[in-house]
């Protein structure tokens, strides 16, 4: 199956997610894209089944007295698309550094 063609900003967001930046705020910070671009793009990527969103466990968040956050994971199809996007936009690989755990 052919990987869907993404815009540059969508490819950048997908690349950031595939490198471990799983929250919307993290993606905004690392890509430098405005939130008006990042959040609707995350919705589109989720609709196209390139990423899937999950919720952090409530207990874990409650222990640290903070609200549980929605995080995003790249699907298998998303990984293939991210790879194709990196080949299409070679500079993507240099724009986003891998997340240090």
């Amino acid at each position: 199956m052919n990987a869907p063609r993404l815009s540059h900003s969508a490819a950048l967001i997908l690349k950031a997610l595939s490198l471990g930046y799983c929250f919307g705020l993290d993606v905004m910070e690392i890509t430098g894209l405005p939130s008006g671009t990042v959040y609707p793009a995350l919705r589109r990527l989720e609709r196209d089944e390139l990423v899937e969103s999950k919720w952090e466990p409530e207990e874990e968040a409650a222990r640290s007295q903070r609200p549980a956050r929605r995080y995003y994971e790249v699907t298998r199809e998303g990984k293939a698309t991210a790879l194709a996007a990196t080949q299409r936009y070679p500079l993507l690989a240099h724009l986003v550094p891998e997340k240090r755990s």
Binding site: G24, G36, Y39, P40, R44, R47, A62, Q65, R66, P67
Partner: protein, 284 residues
């Protein structure tokens, strides 16, 4: 949620969330609100831990949550209207309005527009019945086999939709041809008039073919566009068995079988009504 937190959201954020959440469709509102409460809380929390909290970040995130809510709303409209006859007619009407505005801009005022379109309209009115006649005469006979959906109300609805769509398409062809020829109307009036009628006939023929094709590929009950085209059979076995494409109504009303080639045993497309239980399967 914020009652359990060490620090609740600022009043501005709470009011913003309450205001913008009205845009979000009902079914997704709770999750959207939960997502953004968490995002805003973490944004403020990060700022307290040393990162510079600027007004720009808050403003940017406010734009983000508004864009996110608008995206959800437009996506719900897209899902609800995709393939519907309403969207089809509204799009055609929108295009007609757009080309009327273009004509107005090209002519400068309503007075000149009325004068310019009045002449062109009379000529196009003579050509239109001929174009319609030619299109009907040359249209594929591969329509639905009669009797498969014999409910009169559905038939009436289909014909009404077809007539309105055809009228809008002819109007669109007229406006487009008039707009294209307007710039040369002042220096070369006779050439412009000839070209206008030529473009009108050409555009009307092409667009009426589309009207026929679109009508054929719609559900005979709800008039939604048919989806999930599937190839059935093998073209190499054409003399031995049926082959073609099957399209399904997303609401589960029926199935359209379109033969790849018109043969003596399968001359036309066939509409098959599905039993009520199918609508759940089709929606999956």
């Amino acid at each position: 949620m914020s009652q359990q937190l060490s620090s609740p959201l600022p009043l501005f954020d709470q009011n913003l969330l309450r205001t913008v959440e009205k845009i979000v469709p009902d079914g997704e509102r709770e999750e959207w609100s939960r997502t953004w409460q968490a995002e805003l809380w973490h944004m403020h929390h990060r700022s307290r831990n040393g990162r510079a909290q600027t007004l720009a970040v808050t403003a940017d995130l406010s734009i983000g949550l508004a864009c996110d809510a608008l995206w959800l709303r437009t996506d719900s409209w897209r899902r609800a209207l995709n393939g519907t006859p309403t969207l089809c007619l509204a799009s055609l009407l929108g295009l007609c309005l757009f080309f009327t505005l273009v004509a107005l801009a090209l002519n400068g005022s309503w007075h000149w527009l009325r004068l310019y379109l009045g002449d062109q309209f009379e000529r196009s009115l003579f050509a239109a019945p001929l174009v319609v006649f030619v299109t009907f005469a040359t249209a594929s006979r591969g329509q639905i086999e009669p009797g498969s959906t014999n409910k009169k109300l559905y038939w009436l609805k289909r014909q009404l939709f077809f007539a309105v769509k055809m009228s809008l398409v002819l109007l669109l062809a007229f406006l487009l041809s008039a707009d294209v020829c307007q710039p040369i109307h002042a220096p070369l009036p006779n050439t412009a008039e000839l070209l206008q009628i030529f473009f009108f006939v050409l555009l009307a023929l092409v667009s009426l073919r589309w009207v026929f094709h679109d009508q054929e590929q719609r559900c005979k009950q709800c008039l939604h566009s048919l989806a999930t085209p599937a190839r059935v059979g093998r073209p190499s076995h054409n003399l031995l068995e049926w082959n073609g494409t099957e399209l399904l109504c997303k609401q589960g009303h029926g199935l359209l079988s379109v033969p790849e080639m018109e043969t003596s045993w399968c001359e036309s497309s066939q509409w098959v009504d599905l039993t009520p239980g199918w609508n759940q399967t089709a929606s999956v």
